[in-house]
Every structure is written in C-alpha cells, then in structure tokens.
Symmetry: C2
Subunit: 335 residues, 2 copies
Amino acid sequence: MTTLNTQCRLAARPIGLPKTTDWQIVREPLPEPGDGQIVVEVDYLSIDPAMRTWMNAGRSYVPPVQIGEVMRAFGVGHVIDSRDGGFAAGDVVSGPFGVQRYAVTSGAAVTSVDPALAPAPVHLGALGISGLTAYFGLLDIGKPAPGQTVLVSGAAGSVGSIVGQIARIKGARAIGIAGGEEKCRWLVEEVGFDAAIDYRTADLRAELKTHAPDGIDVFFDNVGGAALEAGLNRLARGARVVLCGAVSQYNAAPRGPANYMQLLVARATMTGFVIFDYAERYPEGVAQLAEWLRTGELRAQEDIVHGEVGDFPETLLELFNGRNLGKLILALKPH
Amino acid sequence: MTTLNTQCRLAARPIGLPKTTDWQIVREPLPEPGDGQIVVEVDYLSIDPAMRTWMNAGRSYVPPVQIGEVMRAFGVGHVIDSRDGGFAAGDVVSGPFGVQRYAVTSGAAVTSVDPALAPAPVHLGALGISGLTAYFGLLDIGKPAPGQTVLVSGAAGSVGSIVGQIARIKGARAIGIAGGEEKCRWLVEEVGFDAAIDYRTADLRAELKTHAPDGIDVFFDNVGGAALEAGLNRLARGARVVLCGAVSQYNAAPRGPANYMQLLVARATMTGFVIFDYAERYPEGVAQLAEWLRTGELRAQEDIVHGEVGDFPETLLELFNGRNLGKLILALKPH
C-alpha cells in the first residue's frame, strides 16, 4: 500500500504577513527511501520567527526556500523505516524535516533524541534550537558577568524566556521586554525575570531608566525596531548587543535603529549571531540545559497547537500577532 | 597693557547646518593666568566633523558644549606665559584650546609638540587626533590581516585618508568611498588606495561587488547613511565594522542602517570607538605614525584655511559641503 504524504510548500514570496495563497498544500505518494536514507513520521514541528526570513529571496544566513519547495522546518518524529545502520524503526529523532507529515531524508542530517531526558516537544524548545540559541548567544557573545544587567526583547518567546533564565543562573539581572500585561506578569512571577516591561503600554525609555539605572551590559535583541532603539539608548559602557532576530521587521519594510551611534557613545559592540555555527558544540549546550531542567533552575515552556500539516500557515501567524508564549509547536495529530 | 582675546562661543543649538546666528564672536580682556596655568597663543585650529555633534544637547561621548561657552576645539599654539614648571614661553604645544586666539589653561591638559618631527599643522592631522583615530580604530578594532579588504567611507577626509594608507602598510587592500571624481583620483593616484568609488555618481553596491568580490573584511565608517548600508550589504563572514563617525547624519534627522541585520548574515561585529579612550597609548601611535611619515610610507595632507577666529563658523561648513580634502585646519594669521 502506498503511503500518502502531506506537504506544505512555498507557492509565492509573501509581501508582509504570509497569506493563504503564499502556500500550497500537496498530497502525494511518499517515495521509497534510498540507501543511507530514513523515513521519519513527523510528530512535532518547530514554529520559528526566522521562518519568515527564509521565505524571502536574497542574501541571508541560509539559502531561501525556493518556490515550490517544502517549507523548511525543524521537527521531532519517529523513524518508521531505515536504510541507515545508525537508526532503527521506533527511534525518536530531530532534524530539519520540513513542514510535512513524512520526511525521507539522509540519516546524516538527523539527531537521535533521548526521550528519557524530556518530553519530545522540549527537544524543539529548551533542549532544541531555541535553548541552544539562548545558551550560546548569551554566554558566548553576550558574556554577562555576575551583577551585570541583561536586557532581552521578545522575552516571552522561546529564545527570550530562556535567555533571561540563563542570565539569572549566571548571577546577572534579567529585564525583559514583552507585549502585554499577562506576559510580563508571567515573566516576573513564573519565569524569574527581575523586571518585565510591556512595550505596548509603557514608556520604554523611562522604564529602562528605572530598571537599569546603571545601564544595560548585555542586550539580547530578538525584535529590532523601537525595542532595539530603546535598548541602545541605555547601554552601559562596553556593552555587548547580541543580534539574534528582528521579529518586528520581518513583515514590514525594515528600518534600522536611528540611534545606532549610541554604540559609539557607549563604546559598545553589536554582533550578529547564527546558532548553526555552533553545531559542533550542541552536545555541550544540550547537556547543560538538560542539567538545569533537571535541577529546576530552568523552566521550559511550550505553546502547543494541535493540528495537521495544513494548519501550519495559520499557526505561523501566531508568532506575529503577539499571542504566543514560549516555544510555539505544531503537534501533528496521530493517525 | 591688557591683551584682548577673541573667542567664538556657541550662541544657540543649531538645527541642521550651523547658521551665523548660532555663534557669537566676543572680544574681551584676557585674564591673568593662575598658578599651574599657562597662556597659549593659538596658531592652528583643528576643524573636525565631530564638532557638530558637540553642539547638540543630550547624551554623547563627551559633554555638550554649553550655550555661551567657547566652542571646543583642538589646536596647536605657542606658550606666551607660563605658571607651570613644565612649560616655558616659546614652547610649541597642542591641546583642547577652544576656538579662541588665546587660551588660559591648566598645563595638565596640554602636550608638548616636537616641531622637528613635522610642521605644526601635521600635529593636528597625521600626528594628531586624526592620525591616532585612524591608527587605533583600524588596528585595534578593525584588525585587518594581510590580504584582507578594508573599506573606508569619508576616505578623502583627515581620518579616512590615513586609514587607507595604514591598511596598505599592513598588507591589506584599501577601497575608499568619497564624493567627486577629483577626490577619487587623488585617493588612487596619490594616496595609494587600490580603488575609490564616487558615491555621487556610482552605483555603490555594484561598485563594491566589483572591487570587493570576496567581501569586505573591515569597514571603517565615518559617514553613515547610504555608504554604511552599501558596506553592510557586502560584508565578508566575520567582518569588523568600526563606527568612527556619521558625518552624513550630523545635520539631518538621523536614520539607521535599514539592513543592519546583515551583521547577522555575515556574523559580523559593529563596534563604536572613541579615540579619547586611547590617551595613554597616544605616544605609541605618534611614534609609529611619525616613523611612517619619515620613511614616506604615509603621506599627510592638510587643507589649510588662513583666517581669524571669526572665520571659524564658515570654515566648519567646509566639512559638510564636500569640498574639503585631508585635514581641515584654520590657521590664525600672525599679528
């Protein structure tokens, strides 16, 4: 019996927020795996702001998804067929499976997941690319010292919420910027941030002055726009700005920080950072993050939407409407 | 007999280019020096783009010049009276004398100049703040390796023309951005840049692609605006952007680089830099720059306007109308 696969393919390059017509949902027979390939049934899809940038033509840190190609996505699933000696049916694995029900892929791009370490969705969040981005971006680029102040924008998101927690673990103060009172309360009361500022209602600059009287030593920016400008305006001497994302800019005509010369005033450094460069050190990061999860110092938060491959386009928009809290995941319903 | 001093004071904070009414020229008796003070007759005034930023209120890397205060300026002059054991009448000195004919100042802020090393104006240019800015900014922050490509904006200016030459001395390729065919020809034929791009007529991005096929490893930016964006678009992996100035932005509503996320694409670093932080290492820089001048590897270029203190406002505008080549200096006419 032929297995039918469902795929979400890029149909057009979006202008602004992706529309339904920018996608094509396709059902077609799954090809047989070749030598060295495995077949994975995808159980969870990681929904990331960076996805929006992968849909644009032009130079970026990864090649753009081509028109007609399956949308790029990380996922966790289980092996249902293997022609690679390193994997067997039933293995839980993570990898860049794409937005589809089944992936036929080389075993080389796939990582075994230890289900005993944490539930499968956590391997896409705190123990996945999000956690690793927070870990290496904050510690390798931001380098917070104990007692220093770390500002995180997009603080209630999958990366931001972990950045703040690692800052605390390392003895720094964590200030978050997020959208909405509920998210801010969650950040302070449940996640352990020292302060959280609601960018929708607060005077960002005034609040940063209150919460960072001696300036910001590390600014982990996921957002760009007004949040970036407010942070730059408050940098401490010798500050490090970690450029991780610019979610406020992905669907708009991008604008740069008008006060970028504050980098000169503060003798500060702004560094762009891509997690894929740290692939060789992922095991180190996962081991440390898992240990912090085990001791309870780190809290993982997933925001799981249950649906089908065809629900991907709508789920992606959750990242841009401000409702999402923690790691957004599309859980594909079991058959 | 009382000596009359002429001063140029800040009368109002300019909007855009400084107007005549933003200045006040004052003639008043020179006070007697106190203990530890010296009296300097100023012979040469350094005219710098940063002066425009010192006239603005608000947070910067130095306090703003106050309304009614003598305009801040570096100068070279000779001591005519000394109550400081370290100086004697006739000594040639440099220091932050301000835009005035005579400065009564503490000896502590003043440096002796060796007239045998180079003519007095050179001590404001290649052997002064401009040369030191190029030296420490390029070598300490930019860190070009032999064979790498260095891009300099404002390349025909006092700092930029030296940055390109030091890049060449260190075995790197130097590409300049400047305004006008004449400046570009001068940069290539006389100063030794490998290429120069006229931002007024060229397609900047296309020209950078031609002249930096493997990307830009070090970008020394004096200009901001379109030049900054064009350079960011062409960064090589791991590039260093040295933020030294933003002369295109000083008289306009500032705008940030819309493509600042190219720092992420290139895994690049943008660092703000203030020469005053290197004060303890000035002697090292002056010694090396003087040696390169002596061997002929470095060429100093001054653009000297002869006039009075009252000519300062008009001379300053030369920096922003694109006519100036090399170090702009106002030489005060001898009595």
